[in-house]
Structures are given as C-alpha cells and as structure tokens.
Symmetry: C2
Amino acid sequence: SALLHNPLMNIIKLFGPIVNGQLADNYPFVTMDDFELSCKGVYRALTIREKYMRLAYQRFPLTTSQYLRDIEGEPFMPEHSVQPVFTSPPKEGEDPFNTKCLPENLSWVARMKDGVIYVYKDAAEADQHKPIENMPAPHYETFIDDMNFLIALIAQGPTKTYSHRRLKFLMSKFNVHEMLNEMEEMKELKLNPHRDFYNCRKVDTHIHAAACMNQKHLLRFIKKSYRVDADRVVQNIKGKDVTMKELFANLNLHPYDLTVDSLDVHAGRQTFQRFDKFNAKYNPVGASELRDLYMKTENHIDGEYFARIIKEVASDLEDARYQYAEPRLSIYGCNPNEWTKLSGWFNKHRVFSPQLKWMIQVPRIYDIFRGRNFVPHFGKMLENIFMPIFQATIEPHANPELSIFLKHVTGFDSVDDESKHSGHMFCTKSPKPEEWDIVKNPSYSYYIYYMYANITMINQLRKARGMNTFQFRPHCGEAGAVTHLLASFMTADNISHGLNLKKSPVLQYLYFLAQIPIAMSPLSNNSLFLEYAKNPVLEFLKKGLIVSLSTDDPMQFHYTKVRPNWVPEPLMEEYAIAAQVFKLSTCDMCEISRNSVLQSGLSNEEKTHFLGADYLKEGPEGNDIRKTNVAQIRMAYRYETLCYELNLIKEGLKTD
Amino acid sequence: SALLHNPLMNIIKLFGPIVNGQLADNYPFVTMDDFELSCKGVYRALTIREKYMRLAYQRFPLTTSQYLRDIEGEPFMPEHSVQPVFTSPPKEGEDPFNTKCLPENLSWVARMKDGVIYVYKDAAEADQHKPIENMPAPHYETFIDDMNFLIALIAQGPTKTYSHRRLKFLMSKFNVHEMLNEMEEMKELKLNPHRDFYNCRKVDTHIHAAACMNQKHLLRFIKKSYRVDADRVVQNIKGKDVTMKELFANLNLHPYDLTVDSLDVHAGRQTFQRFDKFNAKYNPVGASELRDLYMKTENHIDGEYFARIIKEVASDLEDARYQYAEPRLSIYGCNPNEWTKLSGWFNKHRVFSPQLKWMIQVPRIYDIFRGRNFVPHFGKMLENIFMPIFQATIEPHANPELSIFLKHVTGFDSVDDESKHSGHMFCTKSPKPEEWDIVKNPSYSYYIYYMYANITMINQLRKARGMNTFQFRPHCGEAGAVTHLLASFMTADNISHGLNLKKSPVLQYLYFLAQIPIAMSPLSNNSLFLEYAKNPVLEFLKKGLIVSLSTDDPMQFHYTKVRPNWVPEPLMEEYAIAAQVFKLSTCDMCEISRNSVLQSGLSNEEKTHFLGADYLKEGPEGNDIRKTNVAQIRMAYRYETLCYELNLIKEGLKTD
C-alpha cells in the first residue's frame, strides 16, 4: 500500500522490480516515450474490452473501470455497471420444469441479417431493418478496427517489452509477498473456524457432459445396463430393431468381460499432441455405436442412459456437498431441430440438479457440414444455432420445453482443435456469413465474432424480458495462434485453457488488468498439449491472473477410483495434484476455489451464499473469509497490486 | 530373447547400448581388464547378500542364485532356497485372538552376548555360551570384512563406470522396449477380462500407523470424540483427573472450531529439507497432549481412540476391497515393558483386520534415552527391543497377548532422520553394544547390523518352532550417506525410499541384480527431500528395479477427500499422481501393484490368491495376467533383461 499511495514516485523507479534491487539493470530498457506509448495502447485495449463486455451483459472489473474513468477525467458510476443474470435455484417445493410461470408470448419478429439476428416489432419493420431500439448490435466495421488495433498492439515492440517487464515484476512481487506474508496468511486461516479447503465451494468450470463420468463409472453403467436391459431394443438399423444383446454381439464383445483397459477411453501417452486420436477416445471400445447409446441425447432410447449417467454424477456431487460443475452439451447448428430435441431430452428425463449449471458447446465444424451439404452456407449454421433461442425468448409458451431448458443454461462455449489452421483471415473484406458458402472453415476469430454478436443480441432481448442471460466462455489458447486469445479478449466473459498467454506478454498483461477468469485443466493439457510441470497455471496464479481449476474430461484424464457407492472425485484429483506438484498453500487453493465460483454461472443468490453478501465488491471488502477461507492479506495484496499497475497506466497518460 | 540366447556375442558389443547405435562411442571406455575386475566385484557382492538373506530367512532371486551357481560350477538347487513365513488370514469363524492354539512352552533360555541374543538349552549351557545347534549367528568379523569389501567396491573406478554404463543401457533398452511393445502390452491387457488397474491388488508397503488416517479423518474423529466424551477423564496429571473438556480448555481451544488449517498436521512448503519441523507435524494443533490422546497406544484411556481410528481406516480398506496396508507401530527399546503394553493394546481393542499387516518400527534414538539415563548402554536398548520376542517365542503361554500380536507382525523397520550424521564409523574396533555407554548415537550401519543379527536369531528360533518369521525392512536411502544403502544391501529383505541409489551406480546396479524391492513415496519426498518431478521412481522402474508406491504419512502428505462415509484414498492419490506426472501406462501401474504385493508381508496363501499359484516362479511363468493385469511381454522383457545382465557377469568371469 505504500507503493500504491505514492503517485509522485519517480517514473523510472516504477519500472524496476524495486523490491529485489534490480533497478540499475532495468533502467536503460524503457524510455519515457516507450512508456507513454505502451500506456496509451493498454488504455485503449481496456476500453475496447469494456465496451464489448457492457454491450453483452458480461463482466468488467469495477476497479479497472474506475481507473479508466480517472484517466478520461470522467466520473465513475459503479451503479451503471452491468452484470449477467442467472436463474436462481428452485425454492423449496418449486418444480424447475414448471412451464406455468414463463413470461407471455410477444408478437415480435427475429430475423438474421449479415449473420446477426435482430429483433423487430413486426415483419414490416423487419423488412425495413428497423430493429427494436435499445438493443444495439456490435458495429461490424468498428469491431474489425478494434481488432486490428489490438493485433498491432500485441506485436508492438515497446508494449511487448513493457508488458513483459510488468509481468516479471508481478512475479517477483508475489514471491516477495509470499516470503513475507505466507505465515500471516496461514495464521488467518487457522483462526478461521469451521472453514477449510475441504468445505469451501469449488466449481468445475470446464467439463464436457459426454465425459463427465470417469472411466470406471461408465464401465459399471454399461455392465449394469446390460444385466437389466439385454433384450431391450436400443437401435433401429434400416427398419430392423436391434436389442442390446444383438448390438454387443455385432461388436463381438460381451459387457461382462469389459474392463477399463478394453473400454479404452482413457487418454494415454498416445494422445499427446494428437487431438485427432483424443477425439476417438470418446468411443468406448472404439465403437461409435456405444458412444451413441451411452453418451448421446439423441438415439433410439431418447438419450435415457446418458441422462441417467449424468444424474448419477449430479447425485454424487450433491452427496459431496461443496462441489459444482458446469457441463457442456452440444448444439452443432446442422439443423434447426437440435434445440427441440435437446430440450426435449432435458425435460423428459428431468436432467436437473442444483449442482449442475449447463452450458452449450458449439463445435467449429462448419466445413464438415458444408462438405456433406447439410447446410448451404455459414449463416444457416448460425441461424440453426441461435434462431430457436430468439423464438423461445419471444414466444416462451410456443416453446415451453426449450424455454425451461434455457433458464438453466448459463453460457456458450466454442470448441474444437485450435491447432488446426483455417488459412482465413477475418477482416472487412471477409464474406458475410450468408455469403460464406465455400467448404473451407472460417477462422477462429470469425466464429468467435458471430457467436459473440448473436449472444449479445440474445442477452439484450432476454434482459429486456426479465430472463436470464448467457455468457460467452470459449475454449481459447489451448493451442494455435495467439490471435485466438485476442478475439476472446474482445468478446468472452471468460475462457477455458489460456495456455498460449505464455506466448504473448501483451495479452497476458491485458488478461491480468481486465481480470479475465481462465479455467485451466493441467491434467488435460498433460495428456494433450503440455507436460504437467511446464503448465503455466502456477505462474499465472502468482502474477494475479484469475485462474480456476477444472477437469475438462474426467473420463479421459482422471483416475480417482469410483467406490462401491459411486463417489467420483476428479475435481479433487485436479486440486490435489496441482497442490502437490506446485506446492500450493491452503490459501492458494482456496483462492482458486473462490475464483472458480466467481467465474461460474452460479446465480447471484448462490454466489452470495458461497462467497458472502459483498462478493461483487472488489478487494478485501468483497471477501468473506468465513465462507471462502481466503486470507484478507492475500485479498489486499491482489487488490493493491492491481491498483498499482492501473495507476502506472494513469501516470503514463498524465505525462502527455 | 535373441540377445539372451547368444552367449558367444562379441564381448565389446555387449557394452554399448547396441540398440541405438552408440557402439562406436562406447567402445573406448571399458577395457577387458576393467570388465573382469567389475564382474568379479559384482559377483562377490551378490554372494554376500545371498549369504545374509539365507541366514535370516529372507529372499534372494532364484534367477540370480542360478547364475551364481553357474559361475561357481556348482549345481543349482532351487528347493534349498529359503522363504519367509507369514501368518495366513484366519479361516471363516476362526478368532485371530485365540490363544489356545499357541505352541507349547519350552524350557530354553535366551541371553544376550555382544549385542546378539542366543538361545540355549538351559542356563548351564548359556553360562558356557553353547547355543542350540543349527541356529548360527552372523559372524561379526566376516560381516565387517564383507562390508569393507563392499565399501571399496562402490568407490572403485572401473566398477563405477561399468555399473553406470549398464544402468544407462538398461534405461535405453527399456525405452526401446516401450516404443516397440507398448501397443502389444496394451493389447494383452485389453484382452484380459475382469481385471484392470482398479481391481488388481495393491499394498501400501510403507505407512506409519500414527499417520495412517488423513487430516480430515483425524479432524472428524476429534470432533466426534468431544461430542460424545467431553466429560470423560482422559488424563491424570500429578494425581488430578483431567476430563477431555478440561484438556481442551487448558489448550485454549474448542474442537467445534477446529478445521484442518488449525489442526495443522499437513506438511507444507515449510517442511522441505526440515525433518525436524516435519516431526512436529505429528502434534495436532501443535499440542503433544492431543498426539498422546489420539495417536498413542499408551495413555490414560489405554490407546482406545488410536485403536478406533486405525479400525476405521481398516474398515475403509475392507470396503475398498483391493487395497492392503502395512502400518508401523513403534517399539523404542527404552524399557522392557513396551511389548507387554503394545500387545495388550492390540488384544484389548482387537486391532486386527485382514487388510492390515503389522510392522514394528524402531527409532534410532539411543542418544536421547542415554542422555536421560533411561538405559545404561546400547546393549540394554537392544535387549529391551528383542528379548521379549525371544521369551514369547520360547514360552508362548507365559506371554499369550504378545504371542498373538507377534503372529500378526511381519517385519521390522528402522526409522529416523537419515541426514543426521553420527560421526561413528562401524568397524572391528567399534565397542560392543554392552560397552557402548557414551551418549553419542552409533552409526546407521551399527544399528542395522545389530537389528539384523537379532532378527536372524529370532527367525531361526521361530522357524524351528513352526512360527512366522520377520523381515527386516528399514527406511534407507531417504537422505544421508550412501553407505546406508550398502548396509541394507547386506541385511534387508527390502527397503523404504532408496532415493540415494541415484548417487551410487554400483549400489543401484546391485539392487537391480538382487531385485531388492523398494517402497517409494514420491509425495512424501516432495514434502521433505526431493521435488516430485525429480523423483527417480520412473527411472528406477524403467531400469527394472523393483519399485512399489506407498504413502508414508497420509496425515501429512495426502489431500484426497474423506467422504461423509469416510472412505479415504491416499494410496490411489499416490498412484494417480505418479501416473499423471510420469505418464505411466496401465501396464506400468499394474507392474508396480504386483511389486507391492510381492514386497509385502502378505501370507503365501494371500499372495497365491492375488498373484496366482506360481507367483514364486520368476519370469513370465510366475505371472498370472488374469490376476495381476501385467502383460506377459513385460514379464518376459524383465526376465530376459535380468538374465542378460547376469550372463554378462558370467562371461566376464569366464575370461579368467
């Protein structure tokens, strides 16, 4: 705090990691001009993110906003900040599937224009493209301008040097904090009754529904289903009914003989750097028939087994009490009925649990659908994905099952192998989605922009109707170009993975300043992209990036045994290994747990219950140690460190 | 097998890791003379171990013995090999505490001479030191000679080079095996029905009873005991009864407010390289009173709570079905009643479980006892430790509780901080134990020799009486001098830790050739001595050393959550983390599990049940894949590799 409250500090001093006396070494590397240039760039980058977050009802830190207003000489009005809206858990005795309390139908009209769906009062206004007021779409040309500015910024030498040095400073500063205050933090936690790492809330912020059970759980389920349902018709091939017995006989195997080895869904050494092989691991015994039967919502038995498996996982989490998960279900955009089927499955099997917050993942596989002529152009795929939501939001009673399902959906994910390069470069000359009719896949940024734009429009509509909104939380920075992280910086409330922030100091520094949550999965990375000990999760945590831990795919990555009573604990495995390998303190682990709750789609009511009434406030006053078990010293350190960095930017701009 | 069956192979070729074409590089480093010298040394070292193992009814590999006989031109008689004897689990309905079937009392006399206890027909023969025949003691001077030979050997340049190069070769060879056969191994496992990593048997080969519960388990137990027993008298201080309520009030704390943080038994960053700090972690909330109450067998409540905690751990293991553990209980040698009290505790609380195989750990803290004048000399400490066992073995009915307890004890451990240096050097001039009356602690080797010598005498006596024998399984090579590993090479059936084998190529190669099991605990090492990623466990496994995984102290090192139903899984945490960090294959993990069963004190009956009827045979014919889930290709690889190395020694000695 001494550092923070001394704005007159010599500008040269501000650069060095003064704390360990390297000042002299650092001096020659940054000139006053470079400093100003960097601060200008960083300032503008932050205002860009702030603008797009606000437009989509996504989050931006109050502290950062306050400094931006300070720089502009504008008053800061925290009451004008926006927050996403999530559905509260049902009250005692309330039925989460009750369609009676849905809002009334409106006669509004939704229509896609240039890949973005707008809402109009009626068809006539739609024909003239006069959308309803107060529901502004992102401005396409401005977005491209902003993006190009950021592309230049992250490659700009002085800003790279500046960010690199600030990050190095953040690292050293945390190490000093740790050496000075580790014992004090521990003392706070020891004096904090009834709360420890085990009973502070954690959310598995990144998990795919199709792999949310572990391998042993799936194995047992398959065996059990066979014992009970061997004669049940589970397939219909060309009009011929196939029983489960016949299905397994055709595969030349008997479930009784299955083991986790023959099931072969676990990622091994073979999957490292081979995302293609990894995807095949979703097929039990290598048979897509079994994936269809057990891990799909659409099949001959209406996804009954998949629903039952998920409900077993949920019931285990309910028993465990302090763990929540955010499973992803797929919408492909291949045809407009997907939502009807998915929400039908959700309602029919009553796949609801207070421990689960649902997300929709959209695979970036337009090229495959176009290649098979399932869709005429990219715009149709977007329409298949988003139009049903608009319709259900405008006319809830005409789409009761989907409307109910959407109440429990908290966000969208964009998924696929990021290391595949599309060759396309998103720019003003890119074809509009309705014109994108070639087989080639558009770039990551193009996908991200159009998902963001449509989610923005949906959120404005749903907010106006008093409904819950959706967050955009793409997979980002697991592999591929760093520009992915740039697109998400502009559009995503938070991301999964973020490994490639290692490669861009400017983006890493911006993710820090904007406090963008990152769901990291070091065990998944260890099997696919990056050895465990090299994972940057510890480095990110130390620097003050907002990291949470998540499992990604327990079926493929986790070992922890499922007991006779079927209690799996992949998330605890994730925490335990990180704690062991990186020697995390209890305070570190509880800070990560707290981050995971903040990042998640848990409702305001739940967050208040789990983190404290002031959780929306930033800094130590937002922390209730009795609930989070995070030391106030840590919270103060984080807050002062963020303010110190933001203040530097302010200083840099004052010198103009 | 091509390599194995070509004894005429050019001697130069034998040295290079021929498989990856480095032959030319390797050629100049080993001369024929050095090769012969090394082979002679290694041969003699192996015969030394073989002799001391046989004397104490401990194990030595048949394969290695066979090559030694070949070298000597003697016939190999496997039927003459010795095996330890362990008590079978009680039959259905049999009471493990039944004293009726104890063997009859004899009138023999046990007496200590020069630190070793001998058995005599009667007092007269004892006075003349005429021990019963066929119970030979190790010969002291010969032992020192053998030891000095080995000390010279491990420092001998050519043998160091030779061993180093053989180990490098073993490493490369395994890597080649893995690349060639990994898929084949996996295929075997996939075709193996009903058995996978989860249901193959594993033994936690190294765990301390006082830390066998995890931190959350202990916390819950303390809270529960307070809810039920607050008014119970749990201490008597100077004639004044102290209730549990008063005890906690004196400590200024209330169990209701306790959390794992305030309990403070978990090792953190503070314990690294600080064994002294680690020992303090055994005291809950830093209070030795609580350690006495909850984790001791002797206290005002006769160790009732400790017994209950252990029985809860055992019951969890029984639920888990495939896990066993070998907890260590302490005998200090401070006074001769310790055994009576410990066995009284064991019988009173009926602390028996088929999942637990008991071991006795003896801390090397003579200096502390002597300093406080508890014992007059080192010989008395040895007598306190071992004499009661001789007495109970000679007169079981005079010592029924101890005799019952000893049936369930499978071995002895020697424990303490190995990094403490004694300054004493064990040699022919060392004072005999009865003469060792200074306060200074004798060296590690001195402790080890006298423990070994007495265990040898006990085993001969017990074997003659048809009773179970004990193995010597010291902590060894966790820290300190490499000579510790040399002492254990001569005396121990198997060891715990072995990290320092990294520092002596000769010893490492000898541990390989003699196939000495090593219980490794990388999570414990990670908190105390060596970072996880630097742990040699993977390297040892690849080279073919017999490693198992063990938890050491779940209370201090492990995280995995204890569920409402109290199922802990520290051993699975140990396997899962090793699997993740070192990318172990299923075959690797199952091989480690199999090693752990072989290393353990499970009875012949249990080993037959868990590993197959031929488990005592070496090589693939000793493996029953249906029970172990270890691929036969792996077994063949291990066997051929061992034979190849042993054959090299034989070739080296032929050239004489």
